[in-house]
Amino acid sequence: MIECDHIRNFCIIAHIDHGKSTLADRLLEATATVNPRLMKDQLLDDMELERARGITIKARAVAMQYAQRGELFELNLIDTPGHVDFQYEVSRSLACCEGAMLLVDAFQGVEAQSVASAYAAMEHDLRILPVINKIDLKHARVDEVAEEMEQSLGIDPSEIIKVSAKTGVGVPELLQAICTRIPAPQGDPHGALQAMVFDSHYDEFRGAITYVRLMNGRVTRGQKIRFLGGGTTHEVLEVGQFAPHKRPCHELQAGQVGYLVCNIKSLDMVHIGDTVSVPGEGAAPALTGYQPPQRMVYCGLYPSDGQDFSELREALEKLSINDPSFDFQPETSDALGFGFRCGFLGLLHMEIIQQRLEQEANIDLVQTAPNVTYQVTTRQGEELEIHRPQEVPDAGDIVEFRQPLVRVNFVLPSENIGTLMKLCQDRRGVHRATEYISPTRAMLRYDLPLAEVIYDLHDKLKSATRGYGTMDYELIGYFPADLVRLDILVNGTRVDALSIICEKADADRRGRAITRKLKSEIDRHMFEVAVQAAIGSRVIARETVPAMRKNVTAKCYGGDITRKRKLWAKQREGKKRMKSIGRVDIPQKAFMAVLDTGNDKK
């Protein structure tokens, strides 16, 4: 059995495309964990969707054996998700490591995600192993990038290891550095079992597979364990490590990383960040830092007209077995009928789930515009968590209305600073810092309302910097703001699914933008359609879709009849995919119209 001092637990943090997966492959090869010829490229992120998006969504762990000067080391690479939506999962993964490789592309240099992840690693007291990758590139700017790392993150350039994950240059040095520079895990193999759950996935045949890092004690096949947070007790049917496929073993002990299979039929019993110990008196204390999943973004999902509500529910249930971090509750909307309020970790998470619903379940959805979670303190002293605009109490009942703020790191060419600052000011950003990380690149830090960030800031940043700017953010908390519920009325009827929450000072602009957008989305009807935006009973914007004035086919003789009937029948099919509210047909995508922020105000 391997002792703690020969174990190294580490992760790789990198901006997307800087070569994390490629480097992971090289490490697996160099340690003969996989046979290069059998290796499927980039083993670590193997979900289809991840491939499509190039983002590692779910963490994985691989155990590698590495001999150095006759000593055998166990290297555990814990892969971390690369997107802010999965910040909490990242933090739990970091809590399982003693070191982090900070991987930076020799051409791209330091990016926002590198900075954000490096800070997170430092906060967890991880030993940082700075690495510059892709030194084989013709345009590699190794020295400049080293300087950027020094400027932005205080990295000592002499410590940087230079590698090419493509050619393998520098990989042996990197492996050595892992063994010599990253501290061994601390922990008492004879103490009470105490393990951190840092990930899980669902296996159709075996149920939940729980990923753990043992802090103290040991876990053996056949023993009973208890999730301290979840409060459930299970028998361990199998323990093992990933190498990279499941490799069962007799036991895992303090310092090691591996998996547990118990007979757990649903992933929502396995909470990331929870502590595994033994049932009863001898249990270890729970590890700190556990949080239930924080759903930051909510939206309504409704079957489009003529689609089955129960089909949608089944599809959602099936998805949630695999992904307990997303949540759904039945809700009804006057406008849309029966559907679900769904909560997501973030916007990317929302898009992933939606895409799966459409692809895997083949369901035609009406989605309402996403909103963030708000908090309200009422006059009666109640604390409300608001997941949908309809839940906002009357203005008179609200003592305090709070919204989530995030700290955003931008890394961008210095010449675009002005444009970015304007973007952030328009979105009520508070400037926190500007640092120049090289003569041509700067890092800006802003505190911004999450609501302003999730909708379009990333796109706006990309277009303002011709693609060179990057951003990352973390939640800093809920802060009071002057917020109101803005309602949309269509021919005098409030359409609940179109209400939004926004800053009072922005309400006029948002109201105008939304009504204008709706006007363009709603076809002309046989009568005039009025679209109004209102706060309470006060109308702040109005647009009119004029009535159709003339729509009649003149010629209809023998040969025209079939053609006309087919045309009209096709229009009928189109209408079916809309939602009728009152007598107004509203196309599905109009429900997203409220995202039109009316930004880029002059």
Partner: protein, 375 residues
Amino acid sequence: MFAPARAAYIHVPFCLRRCGYCNFTVVAGRPELHQAYLQALEREFQTLPGPVPVDTLYVGGGTPTQLRARELSELCRLLRTAFIPQSGYEWTVEANPDGLDRVKLDILCEAGVNRISLGVQSLQPGKLQLLERAHRAPDVLRILPLLRARFRSVSLDLICAVPGESLAAWQADLLAAVALDPDHLSIYSLTFEKGSLFWGRLQRGQLQPVAEETERAMLEAAWDHLAATGWDHYEVSNFARPAHRSRHNEVYWRGESYWAFGPGATRYVDGWRETNHRSTTTYLRRVLSGQSPVAEREKLAPVDRAREMLVFRLRMLEGISRVEFRQRTGLELDDLVGVPLRKFVDLGLLQDQHGCIRLTRAGLLVSDAMWPEFL
């Protein structure tokens, strides 16, 4: 189950040249095809079970009178062999004012044609030129007395809302046409059809369509004027003096059966709707080599047939009674379309009185927006 067809349409695909707005099944300036065409028609007629008794015949185009005199009499001879007009029959031939002469008119008259539909479109020189028509107003004035002397019923086609036309100009044009005292009028506002020259010019921004509001005013002006002067506005675009409706066209709108021959022609027999190939040359090749000219065919389920009938029936302004609907389809109108029906009645687009449904003026103007909900 389906009553035998007692109407027949014959499509003659020849024109002198193609008008700018036209996307019909037409070949322009190909007189060398006339002979083959007549042969093909004869072959098509041979597929009929025998001489067919008909109440209406309609020879449309194209420009049937584009055929040379000899060919025209050959066409009439073929028709008289294939069909037996029943007493009180209506036999219409479409004609254009240019290239019409006494000889051709006499041939038609002697064959038994009793109704002429004349493609006048306008009497204003600028408008005729814009429409790229081959005739001028004097041609119309010259030809009308000749028609009157020979045929029971004369119908004129008029077009409104051509680019640049004002409401006043249209009203003058209409009055001039009405002053010619036709028995029947068909009034269409100009549409830009894919496949026409105008379509391309519209896309390129070279033609500016008349504003929707103006177009609406033009139609209403015509409807109002004609109603006030005793015309029977019996279908969206059609107006008749008493006893001069187009009985043949009513067959289409009532969902009754009809034969059809010639390129692009559509027939409706035994519940099958069949359309011949739209390309004249392909049609000729197929028929003359003994193949079927049919390019598309479909048979609707009874419910869909009922819905279709309802829509086209409602385009006739007299509307349809629940009793008639039940007799024709075996279905209850309200079971089929009760919900949209009530909605449109509420909106004032349909009128539901004494068990009869009909379009109101407001409904007529936007009727295309209703039909999807009935189908």
